[in-house]
């Protein structure tokens, strides 16, 4: 943890989980409900605002520099609720005037009115779920919109004055070919977003897609790997720098909020199923809207899996999360923070470099190459094993 100077405050991210959607997508396993009645929404807003009010006083030394409304579909949930929650956050926390404030949106629930209202409240970044440009595929995935709505939505977002727009795409979709993916990507880049996220479709147990995953012609790992590598190339050609496994941005337009997750920053999550890493502990809010509302109302427990993370485990997290980013890992940073030797890790990284899976910068930072990102689980689990077996520096002396 950084040491607090007299005037410096520790940066903090706030995440708001909005668990409402118009419909459930075939592949989605995030916590969201498709019921939306006004009474429930009011109770949710009351609960989350109360939760924020209770928590604010616990973070006196912090300044909030990012706020992120995810879900669910915040745009479908509506501007009033979001405005109320953001206001509560501003009252309870010291939210910086230049904070990055993002909301997620789907093209079918984005009106000029909503966009202007939220812009007025201080929202300055939109993350729009596009996923694909083929209407038939969008329909099959259970997306509640078509591609024409995407085009309209982008126009509206720009018109409302948002200068930081992120588009989400997915690859490895049923029936998708490498050529089709490249075409989709080029097509979508014509919309000139500042930021792009490209995620491989992951088939999660318990989702509708899981039941027919073997029947719907999902591209195999080799094809998906090619899709990924070509996306990295195409995005690079269009001026998007990769800064994380699945994230790309024009210069200076990285998602500050998401970077916190990978750089060991602190964040507090509100709303059901939201995660936090704050004051040395990781914890999660209960994954049940009603339990959340009741818990807050009765001042009962709403947190689960509260865990103080020991330093040894933080050392593992450092490898897991930092190696997702192009910033990567570095000897001094590692040895000073965790008092563990970097040598054995570096030995393995040199081996990875021999196979073009990792690269070392002139400043001595190790990062994975796009090919390395593709097999990052395998590389990171190797490194974790090596770390497990290494002797702390202090004990060697």
């Amino acid at each position: 943890m950084p040491i607090l100077g007299r005037r410096d405050k520790t940066p903090l991210g706030i995440y708001i989980h909005v668990p409402f959607c118009r419909s459930k997508c075939q592949y989605c396993d995030f916590y969201s409900l498709t019921t939306k009645d006004d009474r429930l929404i009011d109770r949710f807003v009351d609960a989350i605002c109360a939760h924020i009010r209770e928590t604010g006083p616990l973070a006196p030394g912090y300044r909030v520099d990012t706020v992120y409304f995810g879900g669910g579909t915040p745009s479908y949930f509506g501007a009033d609720g979001m405005a109320t929650i953001l206001t509560a956050a501003r009252r309870a926390f010291d939210v910086a005037s230049d904070a990055e404030i993002t909301f997620e949106a789907n093209p079918d629930s984005i009106s000029d009115k909503l966009l202007r209202r939220l812009r007025g409240e201080g929202f300055n970044r939109v993350s729009l779920g596009v996923q694909n440009d083929n209407d038939e595929l969008l329909r099959r995935l259970g997306r509640p919109h078509n591609y024409a709505q995407v085009l309209t939505a982008v126009q509206r977002i720009r018109r409302a004055g948002y200068r930081n727009l992120s588009l989400d795409l997915m690859y490895g979709l049923p029936g998708q070919t490498l050529a089709a993916w490249q075409e989709t990507l080029t097509h979508v880049l014509n919309l000139a977003p500042e930021h792009m996220s490209c995620y491989a479709l992951k088939v999660e147990p318990g989702t509708p897609l899981y039941d027919y995953k073997d029947l719907c012609n999902i591209p195999n790992d080799d094809v998906q790997a090619d899709m990924y590598l070509s996306a990295v190339d195409i995005l690079k050609e269009h001026g998007y720098r990769q800064y994380e496994i699945s994230n790309f941005a024009r210069k200076g337009m990285v998602s500050k909020h998401n970077l916190k997750y990978w750089m060991g920053g602190e964040y507090l999550g509100f709303g059901p199923d939201a995660s936090s890493d704050f004051a040395g502990k990781r914890f999660k809010v209960v994954r049940d809207l009603h339990a959340y509302i009741d818990g807050i109302k009765r001042h009962g427990p709403v947190l689960e899996e509260v865990q103080e993370i020991p330093i040894r485990e933080r050392a593992g997290e450092y490898l897991m999360t930092r190696l997702r980013t192009t910033g990567g890992i570095e000897r001094e940073e590692y040895e000073k923070q965790y008092l563990l030797p970097f040598d054995p890790l570096e030995e393995a990284l040199f081996r990875c470099r021999d196979h073009a899976l990792a690269a070392k910068s002139s400043e001595g930072r190790w990062r994975l190459t796009p090919e390395g990102f593709l097999v990052s689980n395998s590389i990171i689990s190797d490194l974790l094993l090596i770390q497990d077996q290494s002797t702390p520096l202090a004990r060697r002396r």
Binding site: G13, Y15, H17, F30, G70, Y199, A200, K202, D221, D222, Q224, A225, Y228, I245, S246, K260, Y261, W262, Y267, G269, D273, A274, S275, S276, D277, R282, K284, E305, G316, E317, M320, T321, R324, R351, C352, D354, H355, L357, F373, L374, V375, S376, N377, S378, I379, I380, S381, D382, L384, L385, D388
Partner: protein
């Protein structure tokens, strides 16, 4: 002490699966030795493993009290024997404690290879053989033909052999009557100096070693000084008694003709050699009883803990297992690839699998086992003769004058339509045809001489599948014969993995090498880079496969700061890797070592 004329000592012999253990269960029931509520199937097979696999591994003895039709009460001592060919030796030592043997023959299968082998063992030991036709209630039963087979093939009168169903309890009393009438009562002078034959022993943590004996002459009582005639070690007998199905019953004494146990605060089973003679220390017998052939492991394999840190645990477990299984042997060895472990000797592949399974189950160990091998005899140019039980110790080909491998005489019995298939199989396995005998108009017995090495891997499975389960096998060692042998090395990513090296017949090297490379390719997970899998003889590569590099293993989305799930996944992957063995840069899961053994796909 029971009068000699009221004692019958017998065992049950049969081909595997002909219903030996089931008949034993029924005899126990019929004698009221077990309450029906305590009755479990295969009650004499007390190991879980024995019940699960439906086989008998250890010999067991039990005393039954039977009131016969003549109104007299008899002590019937039943010594159960294992049926599998690996445990031949256990059979022979059980037989030496008996005067008779009940020969169980399946009414539809008839006489099979082990029926023959065990019958010969029993008649060589001078036992009276009481044939019984089992599974009489099966639609395919043909009792008259099977009786004729027994008479023709085994030359044992079977005209009025009881026709029974052990499974359904039909005609069980007839078997007991036949035992009383046909099995001769034991002889022996109870006042003579003690001579008791040790036929098994077992370790008990409270009493020390429990020695199972058949008293041939004299009497043993608690408090008596006893001496093991082979080692000369003396002990004070603490307890003597008889075995009942659910435990031990202490008695005042055990006299000639009786079967029972004794304890004497003996600390390890190795102090009590099976086949040894127990005598009195004060009044010792002049001569020990004829011992039986010493047990000789036929198959050796390296056994290593999957987690190197568990070496000590493995050592303790082997020590404890050895207490109850004198036929296994082990000594420490080390491998560059696998670290510290043990080279263990087993009676056969089944025995090896059982020991492994017991180590893993009863001692909660994760093991890596190397390919089993037989013991080769190598004469070096300088005249030195070395017995090689570990491929690592195989001498440099330049130093070898003569290499020999153990051969067995195999007897295979099957219906005649499978003769072609069996001949094919045996020829492929380097078998040398000796002769073929028609047992009756349907079935033939083939004799082959073949290398033991060809039998230990998967010969039995191959035989069963080629004869639709009708083929049966028995074999015995006949000695060493010169052979052309080579050592095959396996290289992963260019490095020799010593634990995968093995010795084989030169002409088999190419096909075997190819198959092993294929198997390893299937079993080694894709890594971050390409891995060549090669097989080599003396530095010359003779087979190669390539494990392609892993293309994609990534969590694309790490959402909302919930890294706990990702952490769990990576931790799991890490733990999986921990259980793999790393050779240079290649991680090999422990299953791969066993998979290379199972090469016969047809």
């Amino acid at each position: 002490m029971t009068d000699l004329s009221k004692i019958r000592n017998f065992s049950i012999i049969a081909h595997i699966d002909h219903g030996k253990s089931t008949l034993a269960d029924r005899l126990l029931e019929a004698c009221g030795a077990v309450d029906s509520r305590d009755m479990a199937d295969q009650i004499l097979d007390s190991m879980d493993l024995e019940r699960e696999r439906g086989i008998t591994i250890k010999a067991r003895a039990v005393q039954l009290t039977y009131q016969a039709d003549d109104g007299e009460v008899y002590d019937l001592n039943l010594i159960d024997t294992p049926g599998h060919v690996d445990f031949h030796y256990e059979v022979s030592r059980s037989l030496a404690a008996c005067e008779g043997a009940v020969l169980v023959v399946d009414a539809s299968q008839g006489v099979e290879a082990q029926t023959l082998a065990n019958t010969f063992l029993a008649s060589d030991a001078g036992l009276e053989i009481v044939p019984v036709i089992n599974k009489i209630d099966l639609p395919s039963a043909r009792p008259q033909e099977v009786k004729a087979e027994i008479e023709d093939i085994l030359a044992i009168p079977a005209e009025d052999a009881p026709e029974i169903s052990a499974k359904n309890g039909i005609n069980i009393r007839a078997v007991l009557e036949r035992i009383v009438k046909d099995v001769p009562p034991p002889k022996g002078d109870r006042d003579a100096p003690l001579r008791a034959l040790v036929f098994d022993s077992q370790y008990d943590s409270y009493r020390g070693v429990i020695v199972y004996v058949r008293v041939m002459e004299g009497t043993v009582r608690p408090g008596m000084e006893i001496r093991m005639m082979s080692t000369g070690a003396t002990y004070k007998a603490v307890e003597v008694g008889t075995m009942n199905p659910l435990g031990l019953t202490p008695r005042d004494s055990l006299g000639a003709g009786e079967v029972g146990y004794l304890t004497a605060s003996i600390k390890t089973v190795s102090d009590t050699r099976v086949g040894d003679t127990v005598t009195g220390a004060e009044r010792p017998a002049a001569e020990p009883l004829p011992g039986y052939r010493a047990v000789q492991p036929m198959v050796y394999s390296g056994v290593y803990p999957a987690d190197g840190a568990k070496y000590q645990d493995l050592r303790d477990a082997l020590e404890k297992l050895k207490l109850n299984d004198a036929s296994m042997c082990y000594e420490p060895e080390s491998s560059l690839a696998l670290g510290f472990g043990f080279r263990c000797g087993f009676l056969g592949l089944l025995h090896m699998e059982i020991i492994q399974e017991r180590l893993e189950r009863e001692y909660n160990l994760d093991l890596i086992t190397t390919a089993p091998n037989v013991v080769y005899r190598v004469t070096k140019l300088n005249g030195e003769v070395v017995m090689v039980d570990n491929p690592l110790n195989y001498p440099d080909p330049m130093e070898i004058q003569l290499a020999e491998e153990p051969f067995v005489k195999a007897s295979l019995i099957a219906p005649q339509e499978y003769v072609g298939a069996i001949m094919d199989l045996c020829t492929n396995r380097r078998g040398e045809f000796k002769n073929m005998v028609y047992l009756d108009e349907r079935r033939v017995e083939l004799h082959y001489e073949m290398p033991l090495n060809e039998i230990i891997y998967d010969f039995f499975d191959a035989l069963k599948s080629r004869t639709r389960g009708y083929g049966s096998l028995d074999y015995e060692l006949i000695g060493y014969r010169p052979s052309r042998l080579v050592k095959l090395d396996i290289l992963l990513n260019g490095d020799i993995v010593d634990a995968l090296s093995f010795i084989l017949f030169a002409d088999n090297a190419y096909p075997r090498a190819r198959k092993i490379c294929e198997k390893l390719k299937e079993n080694i997970p894709r890594a971050q880079f390409e891995i060549p899998v090669q097989a080599a003889i003396g530095g010359k590569i003779i087979a190669r496969e390539t494990i392609k590099a892993l293309r994609k293993d990534v969590l694309a989305k790490c959402y909302g700061g919930d890294i706990t799930r990702k952490k769990k996944l990576l931790e799991k992957q890490k733990e999986g890797k921990k259980r793999m063995r790393t050779f240079g840069t290649v991680s090999v899961p422990s299953e791969a070592f066993m998979a290379v053994l199972k090469l016969d796909d047809d």
